[in-house]
């Protein structure tokens, strides 16, 4: 579903991604862990072209992200329409929720289908109501984001991303901005999605969640993927000394 090959990315002189390659199969849940500044969020943002990459090649669902291969083998920037279409098929959930504050929960969830997919408002409303019910917020559909707790806001944000019926969901530290007692309700929603067979890439510091839900755990440090294994392997017998050091500090 996702193939990233030899991705490089720099911010000015800072080389944030150094030759990162990763494959995510259909229905697979991949959890990326690693210290702050290791490039994991940047890598995630490259997958839906919120960041451009300097070198390498990424495809999602078989479609190249932001680049196009010409018949003669040259790689050029894709046109913007293709990028917008690709993004609409990739759901993204942010650390700071980023709900639209001038819209109610329901309007937030309807926004994508109505504005981007141009589906009829009544249909979008029905879909949005169903999704809010799925994340346990049917009774909050007319609340504005500011009236919701962090956990509720993040669940609305997940519903908003799901409303586009994406092929893949990307989670960028979805529980890092939450009070500890609200983390559980958001993780429960993500676990549900995993059970439904959604393909997901999750950047997180929640090791318990990674152990329980991940098919594959990826350890990133200093812009590189150092290790990539099933959770029972990486948590019990980490291969790389840097992984061992990182895990011993946080577990």
């Amino acid at each position: 579903m996702i193939v990233a090959e030899h991705v490089h990315k720099s911010f000015g002189k800072l080389h944030v991604l150094k030759d990162v390659s990763l494959t995510v199969e259909q229905g697979e849940v991949v959890v990326i862990i690693g210290p702050s500044g290791s490039g994991k969020s940047t890598f995630l943002r490259c997958l839906n072209y919120l960041e451009t990459i300097d070198k390498g090649y990424i495809t999602v669902g078989g479609q190249p992200v932001g680049k196009r291969k010409l018949p003669d083998g040259r790689i050029v920037d894709d046109n913007r329409k293709n990028i917008y279409r690709l993004r609409s098929q990739i759901g993204m959930v942010f650390q700071r929720f980023n709900l639209f504050p001038h819209q109610t929960a329901l309007q937030n969830v309807m926004e994508g289908p109505v504005t981007v997919s141009k589906i009829p408002v009544a249909e979008a409303r029905a879909r949005a109501e169903a999704l809010l019910a799925k994340v346990g917020l049917a009774d909050k559909s007319h609340a504005y984001p500011i009236q919701l707790s962090g956990g509720q806001q993040q669940r609305v944000a997940i519903a908003r991303a799901l409303a586009m019926q994406p092929k893949v969901m990307l989670f960028d530290e979805p529980t890092s901005a939450l009070d500890p007692e609200l983390v559980g309700e958001v993780l429960a929603v993500i676990k549900d999605l995993a059970r439904d067979g959604m393909t997901m890439v999750v950047v997180t510091h929640e090791m318990g969640f990674a152990r329980e839900v991940a098919d594959k755990v990826v350890f990133m440090d200093n812009g590189q993927i150092l290790e990539e294994s099933p959770p029972h392997v990486i948590f019990n017998r980490p291969a790389h000394p840097r992984t061992r050091e990182f895990l011993s500090k946080i577990l």
């Binding site: 839906n48 919120l50 913007r80 917008y84 279409r85 690709l86 993004r87 609409s88 098929q89 990739i90 759901g91 993204m92 942010f94 700071r96 980023n98 709900l99 639209f100 504050p101 001038h102 109610t104 926004e111 994508g112 504005t115 981007v116 997919s117 504005y144 500011i146 009236q147 944000a157 908003r160 991303a161 586009m164």
Partner: protein, 244 residues
């Protein structure tokens, strides 16, 4: 007050031994002579203000979008525009538009056209800065969230960024609109007959500066106060619909 009322009033004054009826330094009898002329001028002032706000806001929005554009050349043009227009006094700009263009390019704008053009161009530069600051004050996560849904940049601006910026823009825009209303008095120098010029013309006839200009000032004050009230109302309404 019609003629008969006025004669009755004068008779009353004669009886009470009061020579003239005054409000402060203003002789009421004289006020009744100049007021119709000044009010006509005030109507023109309102017309100029409304048109300048309308065109100035359109210019301002475009220049603001240029200034935050990722196309360097557009951003440079936008910055150049606000730099030049905000750095040259409006009075000088009006002289260039009205007298300068006529002499150099043989383009003789009517006073009204020159006035509206000058005020819109100038207002646009200030409004552009207000809108740019408003847009940039919106958290950049909002744009990312909109883009990640698959919106184009234009859709994200229209549906997500501008509706939020709009609420923050209102107070500084209100100030700018009031400044623009007062700045319309400057177009009197290019022979545009609005409130200020009406006052000047009356003064060349009557030489009663205090009474005339004080009245002009009070009319401006009433108009700006009215304007402030409208903006305050709008702000309150938005605060309610914000759900905050």
């Amino acid at each position: 007050m019609n003629g008969r009322d006025f004669r009755a009033l004068k008779y009353l004054m004669l009886l009470t031994g009061c020579k003239t009826l005054r409000i402060g330094p203003i002789d009421i009898e004289f006020l009744l002579v100049i007021l119709p002329v000044l009010l006509k001028g005030a109507l023109i002032t309102i017309e100029l203000t409304v048109l300048a706000i309308f065109f100035g806001t359109i210019i301002g929005l475009f220049v603001a979008l240029m200034k935050i554009s990722r196309f360097k050349i557009l951003a440079a043009i936008g910055s150049f525009y606000t730099w030049v227009i905000r750095g040259i006094p409006l009075l000088v700009q009006l002289f260039i538009l009205y007298y300068g263009l006529a002499q150099y390019l043989d383009i003789q704008l009517s006073p009204k056209a020159a006035a509206i053009l000058g005020l819109s161009i100038c207002g646009g530069a200030y409004i552009a800065e207000i809108i740019r600051a408003g847009i940039q004050s919106i958290d950049k996560g909002q744009m990312e969230a909109a883009l990640s849904l698959g919106m184009s940049y234009a859709q994200a601006m229209r549906r997500v960024i501008l509706p939020q910026a709009y609420r923050r823009l209102l107070p500084p825009m209100g100030n700018e609109f009031i400044a623009l209303m007062k700045d319309t008095s400057l177009v009197s120098v290019i022979t545009m007959v609005e409130l200020m010029r009406s006052g000047i013309l009356l003064n060349t006839t009557y030489f009663r500066s205090m009474e005339i200009y004080l009245t002009v000032g009070v009319i401006y004050l009433i108009m700006t106060t009215f304007f402030i009230c409208i903006i305050n109302r709008l702000e309150k309404r938005l605060a309610i619909s914000d759900g905050e």
